[in-house]
């Protein structure tokens, strides 16, 4: 089993993702330079948070043209696990691997804080170790996390049970007050139809150790590792 963490110019949570995989869940992991053209030998790829290319045009807009993204697209098509965190989620949307787009926050301000999110579906390699309806405490840190898609897409996401995380309050109620950025339907994370590509705005890698204020995020990486281990046995 091998994880890869893609490094774009301007990625800044690449070391954090690497740390979680190598030290917290103890799995093999490499950095993959954005100029690489192949993902051979990898079972899961993480597009980390940060400000790829300074986020100067739109968040993730330039990174999607990096050579590695062609490899990520075919990797995803053949069932490889792709996790996009924060800027990684933005890149996945820009590159069309996930539907929709991430607009500037409703408040027009960057926001960094712990929020609550509710696990809405557990039939994915990323969330199967959580319980449906489980409330997680995870940090967010973004200026453009306001999820948007057209009504038709939203309807499809709901129908296909592809909204995996929603912002909620401490009791798990999905309310307007609990929505930190104005996201449509309080969406914090969605997956593709095949359920092997997952993008989310919160940072699970920042809440993977008790010393950092919580370990709810660790389970996500354990889920991925376990899903890959089961695949390998089949």
């Amino acid at each position: 089993m091998k994880f890869g963490v893609v490094v774009f110019p301007g990625s800044n949570c690449d070391h954090d993702a690497y740390h979680v995989i190598s030290k917290v869940i103890g799995q093999p992991v490499d950095f993959i330079w954005h100029q690489a053209t192949s993902l051979e030998g990898y079972d899961a790829v993480i597009l980390p948070g940060g400000f790829s290319y300074g986020d100067y045009l739109r968040a993730g807009a330039i990174a999607r043209f990096s050579p590695i993204m062609r490899a990520v697209t075919s990797f995803a098509a053949t069932g490889g696990l792709v996790l996009g965190i924060c800027n990684g989620f933005q890149i996945l949307c820009e590159s069309g691997l996930l539907p929709g787009a991430l607009l500037p926050n409703r408040t027009m301000k960057f926001v960094c804080q712990f929020v609550h999110v509710r696990v809405e579906a557990t039939d994915t390699p990323f969330t199967h170790l959580y319980e449906r309806g489980q409330i997680l405490s995870l940090p967010i840190a973004h200026g453009e996390g306001n999820y948007y898609c057209d009504a038709e897409t939203l309807e499809r996401l709901r129908r296909e049970n592809r909204i995996l995380l929603r912002y909620c309050d401490e009791q798990g109620r999905v309310t307007e007050e609990a929505n930190p950025n104005g996201s449509l339907d309080n969406i914090a994370g969605i997956c593709n139809r095949q359920r092997n590509v997952f993008g989310l705005m919160p940072h699970p890698e920042r809440a993977a150790e008790e010393a950092l204020g919580g370990a709810d995020g660790r389970i996500l990486f354990h889920s991925m590792a376990m899903a890959l281990a089961e695949l390998a046995q089949d």
């Binding site: 110019p9 030290k23 400000f51 301000k109 926001v111 960094c112 950092l212 204020g213």
Partner: protein
């Protein structure tokens, strides 16, 4: 090539030089300088680069200690934190640029201090900032604050360094004189520190990073002059920051340093190419010769003067081992950055610059560095008059009817209320090392490869320093050390940022000298040497200057991360105790300013031996696992500190308190006992909470160190209740107090029409 103009008195003045200084230049040089040379000398002899007014005083600061690897004089200080790791840290001001253009001024301030850290080979792992603004009642001050906060956030967030803490204060003297001091801290393995020295005659000199444009020309001299009405027209001088470029520069520089092919490196900050070339040569006892035709340029037709003095951001100067330049250039190319050989190291001890095939500058390094003028500026003592014991409320012994109401007003003070509006805009968690969230007494980041953690805090109190600069500086150092101790760390060293008005005013110069002496004394007492910092003079507009505002950046080490301590109360039924003693110390307090609109002394009395003892008891109690919370008691007094301990935090619910104390301070009218108890700012006090069974051990510890200890009461319920001498003086729901404390900045800043 420039035509050589006649050097006129106007030209000399335009470079920020005096006629005396010019005579000295001609004498040392044995000829008249040309215009490019004059510009270079002007900027290197500016207050900002030469420290000409402060140098004679700064020498009195202690700079040596067991842990110090590198003291003042380099890009940043270096301290050994054990287990094979060094911390590189520094604070620097960007006050003048932030006044002219708050967003870019603050952003480039952050960029500059980050470069100072990574040029030494350290990866920046934490940033903080200390800010001063005019009152929020003025829209212009709110706009400056909003711009500064956004500038700091956008730069640090994009770069990927967590902004983990800092401080903000408001005051009339900072209107039109905002202070923006940026701190950065990096980690580097023992033995991997790089210095800004141009060693090895014949080695190539590389220019790397962003292209040179006309931005920021004469920023250093601008930072060395007072503001007047025309200041706003100086706007084009402000540099524009590019955090993305800086992030690439960081990664490329660290990769380049790992090759072993780099001899020395310095960032091009204030005075750009000029400062980096002559300083790197001077430090190594060599010279540097460069050719400006090879410098990557963003604009066409730049002349030698403009290229040498440009302050374009995100640029570095590297000296590389001869024959290995290709290897280094390739690394920068990988990161999409320009890297060009623009010259070489010579044995001449001179800075030689060519442009268009001609020598346009030929100056001895000495003239630009060591031979810069040093001034013993005149000083006049100027302690402000006044004593709060003579204010009407004291003379008439008129206390308050309703202390709950006073507490509410204090909690809503912009100087005391929650800073969440600010730190929510800063990514304070990236790099997954932040063991604390903002709002603790000090910020703590772990060193992943070890069990250690580093604590850091910024502290300064302009009011105290205005009333008594020497005592104010001592108090600032003491508070910084106390803050570091409260999170469980042993204080190690400091960096300082000294913000003052014009040094040409004898009273200002005197206060500077006093601050240095006070700081030196306190640093010696705590064993925390000064490893570097920055002096910012001329913080005045139209003759109105800021309070003397020294800001102390103190770092400490926690050997075992698990000993980390936080300030909030944890469990119902825990005992609350006060280490130290509350005395009649209202001078310069937040209470006097907020409730009586008075800024008068005398400032709180500080006994350094007592302070050390209190800190020792606290640290031992933390390491023995005796206590569950520790909180420094300072701005706003005990009442505010207690309230902060009660409020809710991440994974920490809100708590009530029941305080029950007998309190009769000598020589204070009885009607004012509650005022003193609640709002006096006596130093050397720490509020701790613990399980009742552990109280005896703590008392024993306090006794052994001669530290007074008082039981204040218990954690419990939902109300903030204070009984003083068996009379209830405050009884308020904590939920409401918390709301009053949380809201003010959100409310003030939402009033902005166009914030940024």
């Amino acid at each position: 090539m420039l035509e050589q103009p006649v050097i006129t008195p106007q030209l000399i003045e335009a470079q920020g030089l005096t006629e005396d200084e010019y005579r000295r230049i001609v004498e040392r040089l044995g000829r008249e300088p040309n215009l490019v040379e004059l510009g270079i000398i002007g900027v290197m002899w500016s207050e900002h680069c030469s420290y000409k007014s402060s140098k004679v005083h700064l020498r009195r600061l202690p700079t040596e200690g067991e842990c110090v690897v590198q003291g003042p004089g380099e890009n940043a200080g270096v301290v050994d934190i054990g287990d094979g790791w060094y911390v590189v840290f520094k604070i620097e001001s960007h006050n003048h640029p932030s006044f002219i253009e708050p967003y870019q001024g603050a952003a480039t301030g952050v960029g500059g201090i980050l470069r100072d850290v990574f040029t030494m080979g350290a990866r920046p792992v934490a940033a903080m900032n200390s800010l001063r603004f005019g009152p929020l009642t003025e829209p212009v001050n709110r706009a400056i604050m909003a711009g500064v906060v956004k500038g700091i956030g956008d730069y640090g967030n994009s770069f990927g360094v967590p902004t983990v803490g800092g401080e903000i204060m408001f005051g009339e003297c900072y209107a039109r004189n905002p202070l923006v001091n940026a701190f950065a801290l990096g980690l580097v393995r023992e033995g991997r520190v790089f210095y800004a020295q141009a060693g090895g005659v014949g080695n190539p000199v590389l220019y790397v990073g962003a292209k040179t444009g006309r931005d920021g020309i004469h920023g250093a001299t601008m930072a060395s002059a007072e503001f007047d009405e025309q200041a706003m027209e100086k706007r084009p001088q402000v540099q524009v920051g590019d955090p993305f470029m800086e992030k690439l520069l960081l990664e490329a520089c660290l990769e380049a340093l790992r090759t072993g092919a780099v001899v020395g490196m310095q960032d091009m900050g204030a005075a750009g190419l000029t400062c980096s070339t002559c300083e790197m040569g001077a430090r190594a006892g060599t010279g540097i010769e460069i050719d400006l035709d090879r410098v990557p340029q963003r604009e066409q037709g730049m002349n030698a003067y403009e290229i040498m003095l440009s302050e374009s951001q995100e640029r570095m100067l590297l000296v590389v081992k001869r024959g290995r330049e290709r290897e280094i250039i390739k690394i920068f190319e990988k990161w999409g950055l320009d890297a060009v050989v623009i010259g070489r190291v010579t044995e001449t001890n001179r800075l030689v610059v060519r442009h268009g095939g001609k020598v346009v500058v030929d100056l001895p390094n000495r003239l630009l560095t060591e031979d810069a003028p040093i001034y013993h500026r005149p000083m006049t003592p100027a302690l402000p008059e006044g004593d709060y014991h003579r204010l009407p409320f004291w003379r008439e012994a008129s206390g308050h009817e309703d202390y709950g109401e006073v507490l509410r007003r204090m909690l809503a003070s912009p100087n005391l209320c929650s800073r969440e509006w600010v730190y929510r805009q800063y990514d304070h968690m990236v790099r997954t090392n932040s063991l604390t969230l903002p709002g603790e007494d000090a910020a703590v980041i772990r060193v992943k490869e070890t069990r250690r953690a580093v604590a850091m805090t910024l502290d300064g109190n302009g009011r105290y320093c205005h009333l008594d600069p020497r005592a104010g500086a001592r108090l600032a150092v003491a508070e910084a050390a106390r803050n570091v101790v409260c999170v469980g760390a042993r204080p190690l060293a400091i960096t300082n940022c000294l913000n003052f008005a014009s040094p040409e005013r004898p009273d200002v110069m005197w206060s500077f000298s006093e601050v240095i002496d006070g700081m030196a004394e306190a640093c010696r007492a705590f064993g925390t040497p000064v490893t570097g910092g920055n002096v910012s003079f001329y913080n005045e507009t139209e003759g109105r200057g800021v309070y003397p505002t020294p800001v102390i950046g103190m770092i400490g080490v926690i050997e075992e991360s698990r000993h980390l301590m936080t300030h909030r109360f944890k469990d119902e039924g825990d005992l609350i105790l006060l280490l130290g003693e509350t005395s009649d110390d209202l001078g310069g307090s937040e209470y006097l300013e907020r409730m009586h609109r008075a800024v008068v002394g005398p400032v709180p009395r500080l006994d350094l031996a007592r302070e050390r003892a209190v800190q020792e008891v606290c640290l031992t109690a933390i390491r023995e696992g005796l206590i569950k919370s520790a909180h420094d008691c300072s701005d706003g007094g005990l009442a505010i500190a207690l309230a902060e301990c009660c409020f809710s935090g991440h994974r920490n619910r809100r708590h009530g308190v029941e305080i029950d104390v007998e309190f009769a301070p000598p020589e204070v009218p009885e009607a004012l006992w509650p005022v003193i108890f609640l709002f006096s700012e006596s130093p050397s006090r720490i509020i701790v909470s613990l399980e009742p069974v552990k109280a005896d051990r703590l008392r024993e510890l306090a006794r052994a160190h001669g530290v007074p200890i008082t039981e204040l009461g218990r954690v419990g319920g939902e109300r903030y209740r204070v009984n003083l001498n068996r009379q209830t003086i405050i009884d308020e729901p904590v939920t409401e107090l918390e709301m009053i404390w949380r809201r003010p900045l959100d409310e003030w800043l939402s009033l902005n029409v166009i914030a940024e």
